[in-house]
Amino acid sequence: MKPFISFIKMQLNVNYGISALKYRFTREKKKLWEPVLIAAAILVSLLPLLAMYTGWMISIFNGGLQIGQPEMVLAISFVFAQLVILIFGIFYIMGAFYFSKDLEMLVPLPLRPYEVIAGKFAVVMVNEYLTSLPILLPPVIIFGTGTSQGILYWLKSLILMAVIPAMPLAIASVLVIVLMRIVNIGRYKDLLAIVGGIVLVFGSMFGSMLFQKIPENPEDIQEFFAGQGGLTDMIGSRFPPAIWATKGLYKTGPSGFGYFLLYIAVSVALILLMFWISDRIFYKALLSGQEVRRKRKTLTGSKMEKKFSNVTSPVMALFRREWKLMIRTPLYVLNGLVGSITGPIILLFMIMAQDNDQELAELLAQLSKPEILPYAVLICAGVMLFTGGMNIVSSTAVSREGRTIWIAKMIPVPAKQQVTAKFLCSYSVSAIGVLTTGLIVLIFLKLPVLWVTAVTIVGLAGSVPMTAFSLLIDVFHPKLVWNSEQEAMKQNMNGVLGMLLSFVILVILGAVAVGTLLIGIPLPGVLAAVFAASVFIGTASIFALFAVAEKKYREIEA
C-alpha cells in the first residue's frame, strides 16, 4: 500500500478508535453497553431537534413553492452547513494541524508536509459529516420528493453531500496555515494563535453578515421575488459557493451540470492550493511551535522568596491549577473560554448588524414597552442560560487530566474536594458568559438596570445545575486516553452529552417561566420562580455530583 494512503488510514483508525472498538467488541464484551447507551442517548435527545429542523425546512419549502422558488430550501441549508463548517472548522483545523501530540511522531516520518496535512484533513472532514449530514439530508430529501426529482438529482445530491465539507474546510485550513506562519513569533505565539483564531472566527461571522445584501425598498424586494433564483442568490450571497451547489443540484441540462462541475472544481482547486501552501510553510510554523522557550534565570533573595506561595486550602490549590492549565492551553481557551462568550458576541453582532440607527432606535423603543419588556427579559435569561449550557469546560474537566490523572489519584485530597475545584473553575467560565451577556444587554439594548441585575442572578443560578450535571457526566465516564488536547475537549462525547443535558435543564426552566407567565404571574414572580427552580435543581445536582464523585474517583485506574 502506498505510504500516503496507509498514513491516512492510520490517522482515521487512531482518531476514531477503530482498533480500540474492535478490541472492545471482541475482547471486552462486558463493556459493550456503554458506547451503545451513549449512542442511543445522543440519538434520542437529538431526535426532537432533528424533527423541529425538518418541520422548519418543510415550511420553508412550501413557502418557496408558493412563490415559485422551492429551491430556496436547498440554498438555505447549503449556506447554513457551509458557514457552520467554516466557522467552527477554524478552531478544529488549528487543533488538528498544530496541537496534536502525534505530530512529534509524524514529522520524522518520510512524508511530505502536504501528506501529513492530508491525513489530518481527512480526519476533520469525516468528523464534519456529523455536522453537515443532519443539516443537509432533510432539505435534500424534502426538495427531491416534493418536486419529484429523477435519478440524476439523487446521484448529484449524494456526490455533493460527500464533498460539501471540503470547500469550507479548505478555506479554513488556508486561513489557519497562513495565520500560524504569521503569529509564530517569540514567546507569545500561543497567545497570538488564540487571538488570531478568535479574529478569524468572529471575522468570518461578521463578514458573512455584511456579505448579505438585504433589499432595502419594496421594489427591490418585489424584484427579488419575481426573478428566477432571486431569493437563492440573496440567501447564497452569504457564501457564494452555496449558490453553485444549489443550482448545480436542482437545475437540469447543461447549466445545472456547469454549476455542479464548478462547485467540484473549485473545491478541488482549494484543496490543491491548501496542499501547495502547506508544503511550503506548514513545517516552518509547526517546528518552531514545538520549541519551548526556556528562560533559565536564577532568582535570588527576595525574588525567590516571593515565589513560595502561602499555604492555601487544597480546593483553592486545585482551582488555581485548573485555571492555569486552561488559560495556558490555546485549545482550551478557544473551545472553553471563548466558546462560552460566543453566544453574547453573536448577540452583539446581531444588534450591530441593524442597518441604521433608526432601526436600532425602533428596536430599543419596542423593548422598553411594558408589554414587551417581560418577554425581552425572559429571552435575555434564555440567552444567558444557553451560554452557560454551551460551556464544555465542565463536561471535559476530568477528561482533560489525561495522563496526569495519577496525580489526582495519588494526592490525599478527597474526591469531593477535587470536583469542587473543578466545579468552581467551570462555573466561573459560565459566569463570565452570563455576565458578558448581562453587560451587552445593559449597554446595547438599554434594558433597565434592575431587570438586567435580576435576570443575571437568575442566569447565574441556572448555570449551577448545568455545570454540575455536565461535570457529573465527565466524572461518570471520563475520556482519559487521548493524544491531542483537541480529542480531550472537542472530540469528547461528554461535551455533547453535557450540552444536551443542559438543554434539558434549559427546557425545564423555560417551562417554569412559560407556565408562571401563562397563569398571569407578573415578571418578578416569574423570575423568582425560575430562580427557585434553579436553586432546587442546583442543590440536587451538587449532591448527586458529590455522591457520584466519591464512588467513581475510587474506580478510576491510572
Binding site: 513560595f308 506561595s309 499555604v311 487544597p314 496525580i407 494526592i411
Partner: protein, 240 residues
C-alpha cells in the same frame, strides 16, 4: 510499614494475572528493592500500594492504615514517583511544587526549606521558573521526586527511580534514600539495575509472573554462596 496480604490483580477479565496472591511485609528503616523481569507485576503492585489501581483481592496496610478503608490518611504517609512521570506541562516547576505543597498542607517555612534544598541538590534552580513542558525526562523525574518528598513522608515508593537520572543525581538520590531509612523511615523501590539493588537494599523481593518467588537479604538469596552475583541469582530464578 507495608503489610501486603494475598494481593491479586488481573486484566482482560481475569485472563492475565498481573499479581497473583502476593504476601509481603516491609519493616521500618528498610530499603526494599523490588525486582522482576518486564511485565512481572512490579508496577501493578506499586500502583496498588499507592492507590492508583484497585486490587481484585487482598489488602494493603500502610503504617497501620488500610489503603482501601482510609485512602486519604494512607496517602498522606507516602511519597510516590512513577517510572514515567506525566506532570502538568503548562505549569512551571515552581508552580507544581507549590501546588504539591498545598495539597499536602506543607507550612511555608518547611516548603521553602525543602524546595530550596532539593532544587539546589538536583541543580534545578535555574529551570524552576520554566514550564515543565521544556524539561528533559530526567528533569521531570527530579521535579516529581521533589514534589513527592516535600511533606516528608515516612514511606517513599519509587518506581524505577534511577531511569533518566544522570550519574550525579542518581548518586545523590541513593544517598538520600539511605539517609531517609537511617532515620527509621522506609523506601520501597523497583529497579532493573541489579547493581543498585545489590549495593543499596537491605532486603530484596523478586517477582515473576505475578508471584513473589524470592525474598530476603542479598546473603539470604545467595544461600551462603558468596561468589554468586545477584544477576546470576536473578537469571536462575526467572528463567525457570
Amino acid at each position: 510499614m507495608i503489610e501486603i496480604k494475598n494481593l491479586s490483580k488481573s486484566y482482560s477479565k481475569g485472563k492475565i494475572k498481573a499479581v497473583d496472591g502476593l504476601n509481603l511485609n516491609v519493616s521500618n528503616g528498610e530499603i526494599f528493592g523490588f525486582l522482576g523481569p518486564n511485565g512481572a507485576g512490579k508496577t501493578t503492585t506499586i500502583k496498588m500500594i499507592v492507590g492508583l489501581l484497585n486490587p481484585d483481592e487482598g489488602s494493603i496496610i500502610i503504617d497501620g492504615t488500610d489503603i482501601a478503608k482510609d485512602p486519604i490518611e494512607a496517602k498522606r504517609k507516602m511519597g510516590y514517583v512513577p517510572d514515567d512521570p506525566n506532570l502538568y506541562d503548562r505549569l512551571t516547576g515552581m508552580e507544581y511544587l507549590n501546588f504539591m505543597a498545598d495539597v499536602y498542607q506543607v507550612p511555608v517555612s518547611v516548603r521553602k526549606k525543602k524546595i530550596e534544598y532539593f532544587l539546589e541538590m538536583f541543580e534545578l534552580k535555574d529551570a524552576a521558573f520554566d514550564l515543565i513542558k521544556s524539561y528533559s525526562h530526567g528533569m521531570k523525574q527530579k521535579i516529581a521526586l521533589t514534589g513527592a518528598l516535600l511533606h516528608d513522608p515516612k514511606l517513599w515508593i519509587l518506581d524505577e527511580p534511577m531511569v533518566g537520572l544522570d550519574p550525579k543525581s542518581a548518586h545523590l538520590l541513593k544517598s538520600q534514600m539511605r539517609e531517609h531509612c537511617d532515620k527509621g523511615n522506609t523506601v520501597f523501590f523497583s529497579t532493573h539495575v541489579l547493581e543498585v539493588a545489590e549495593k543499596l537494599c537491605d532486603r530484596i523481593g523478586i517477582i515473576h509472573r505475578g508471584k513473589l518467588i524470592a525474598i530476603g537479604t542479598i546473603d539470604e538469596l545467595r544461600k551462603g554462596d558468596n561468589k554468586d552475583s545477584l544477576e546470576n541469582i536473578f537469571l536462575e530464578l526467572t528463567e525457570k
